[in-house]
């Protein structure tokens, strides 16, 4: 184990992916966004210069290139950068990548990864702050990965690059400086395998991405009051480890789902529906969702803060769930 931050672990996973498979290309300029940490990528750029393309501002172009190249035998890792820009590539991602395997009767696979940075990042305003994972979840055929820790991001990126399906790999730039223990060398974390990030018997909190860390903060605060929260991190929402979520709810009888998507039709909504459908008998209280209100993201700091799912809002929801 080595301690490193999330951004270093991401770069490490990408480096190993490119080093171990010459079919892997990186199409995209930064991967780590515009943060000062983007220079961590120099290591990858120096080693694999001939397989790195700095594209024009042409999301539709690079996404279709990625899909076409994947169908023809390459394994492109396409960096969409800010997740809001995936809308510029929407036809290629949701109508080409997601459908090709199925509508060809399985004649070929589409092993492309679309990487993007989602979420509220401070002043991103309406057009740079989307969390499109729920919209993408509504498009069968896409695997969707939402890492929450340095160890997970490295292991999941390995699985994403090796997957034969189109994979949406969604990071949150506010996780980049998070430190944690990361295994050295190559390892994979399988898709569809949730991790119980913290055990507890009173309330289940299901969260993804940055909000796993917020849920853990809330759980630690509540523990001091004698409330034990179980934090379940699905790590991938497609495929989704429903059993792990249902097992935890069977134990606690209470569920709070935390999500950075908008409230309506969000990731939290789907998880709540699954639990209501399959574990109604275990529930001692209504399921609660902590998500963004249904409003475009406002610029001004106090407005953005008001709509942000925070540790305090998770704490309050857990208390409310306990009655």
């Amino acid at each position: 184990m080595t301690e490193m931050n999330y951004a270093e672990a991401l770069v490490d996973g990408l480096y190993i992916s490119m080093d171990s498979d010459p079919r892997v290309s990186l199409i995209g300029r930064y991967v780590l966004g515009l943060s000062p940490l983007r220079f961590l990528m120099e290591r990858v750029r120096d080693a694999f210069e001939d397989r790195i393309l700095d594209p024009p501002v042409s999301e539709a172009g690079i996404a279709s290139l990625g899909v076409g190249a994947a169908m023809a035998g390459a394994r492109p890792f396409v960096d969409i950068a800010t997740a809001s820009f995936v809308f510029e590539a929407w036809p290629q991602v949701v109508n080409e990548a997601a459908n090709a395997y199925h509508m060809s009767g399985g004649q070929f696979t589409v092993p492309v990864v679309f990487h993007m940075l989602h979420g509220l990042r401070g002043g991103g305003s309406a057009q740079h702050s989307h969390s499109p994972q729920a919209m993408l979840w509504n498009c069968p055929g896409l695997e969707i990965v939402l890492p929450s820790s340095p160890r997970d991001v490295k292991g999941l990126i390995r699985t994403a690059v090796k997957s034969n399906n189109p994979t949406i790999f969604i990071d949150h730039s506010k996780l980049f400086t998070l430190k944690g223990d990361v295994p050295e060398g190559d390892y994979e974390i399988p898709f569809g395998q949730a991790e119980i990030k913290r055990e507890g018997g009173d309330v289940t909190v299901v969260a993804t991405s940055l909000l796993v860390q917020k849920a853990l903060e809330a759980a630690n605060a509540l523990s001091k009051e004698g409330i034990e929260v179980e934090v379940v991190d699905p790590r991938t929402i497609v495929p989704l480890d429903k059993e792990a979520i249902l097992r935890s709810v069977a134990k606690t009888g209470r569920l709070v789902v935390v999500d950075e998507c908008n409230l309506s039709c969000g990731v939290a909504s789907e998880i709540a529906a699954i639990v209501a459908e399959h574990a109604f008998g275990s529930l001692k209280a209504p399921i609660l969702r902590v998500a963004r209100p249904d409003v475009p993201v406002p610029f001004s700091a106090p407005l953005e803060e008001y709509i942000t799912p925070t540790t305090e809002k998770i704490t309050a929801a857990v208390r409310r769930g306990l009655g």
């Binding site: 750029r45 501002v57 172009g61 401070g122 305003s125 057009q127 209100p293 406002p298 700091a301």
Partner: protein, 338 residues
Amino acid sequence: MKEELNRDKALSIFERMLVMRRFEEMVVRLFEEKHFYSHYHLYIGQEATGGAVIEVLGRDDLTLTTHRNHGHVVGRGADLGKALAEIMGRADGFCGGRGGTLHLTDRSSGFLSTSAVVGNCIGLATGAAYALKQAGKGNVSVAFFGDAALEEGVAFESMNIAALWSLPILYICENNSPGAGGWGSFTSSVIAAKKLTDIPESLGIMSHQVDGTDAKAVYGAVEEAMARLREGEGPVFIEAITVRWPGSVPLWPELIPGATDMTMAWDETRITGEHAGWIRNHDPVLRFARDLIADTVLTQAEVLAIDKRVNERLETARSFAIASPLPKPESAIEGVFA
């Protein structure tokens, strides 16, 4: 049809340019004082383009801009205090603090939605041109965008439509790539066409290249374009080429090489340091001041007097913006539907 740039218009353009310059310098100051915290983009180095284009516009012509919008908005006469307040996310900003620097807009000054998605304003402005054509009053829509916008598919699709349907739209492509940095900074556009104007020309759109730091040259090109546009003869594309201001080379703007010293327009000895070349050869504000003095439109003293007046307006705007309250947090969920 082409009109000469007369004294009044030259003075008006100069003042617009100076307002843009001092406004942006104030934005940097407010950022450094932590009055706002988001990523932002400055118009410094491109003032001659915006100033001259806007001078030609009539009240009912429409403008659409991009993430690099501050210069266009304040250059067209939008209230400086409300513009600063918006950039700072204050309640008295043009968008009530909801838009910020990326989406700054003022409908009363002739702007529609400011998209910060590269290339999108080209499509939106083409739509505005369609509405103006329908209204039949001879008004024109203007899209301001950078050279990288031509890397997006929407640029091609929209220009093709505008050409097919003879829409009254003026595409102002502000090519600020010369002088850009490499990987790790804001890079230049990457377009395979030898000349950017080859792209619209392939669609039959009348296209011109012009020195974007030369207010007179831009004015001349736009005057000519406007006559054609108002006659309903279809779109025009102007590529205005500027050399990137050194402060916009890093990912976060920096006030290098310092706030503008207007005396540099006539006192070469004051131009020193690493960025002397840009200041001497590529600063459009100093260049126009120099030209106006040479043409005896202005004296050195008058240049300094105009600058003083602009700076005073900006101090007033700054006080207004700082005094403006932040919006009430619970109002975050308002304003979704009309």
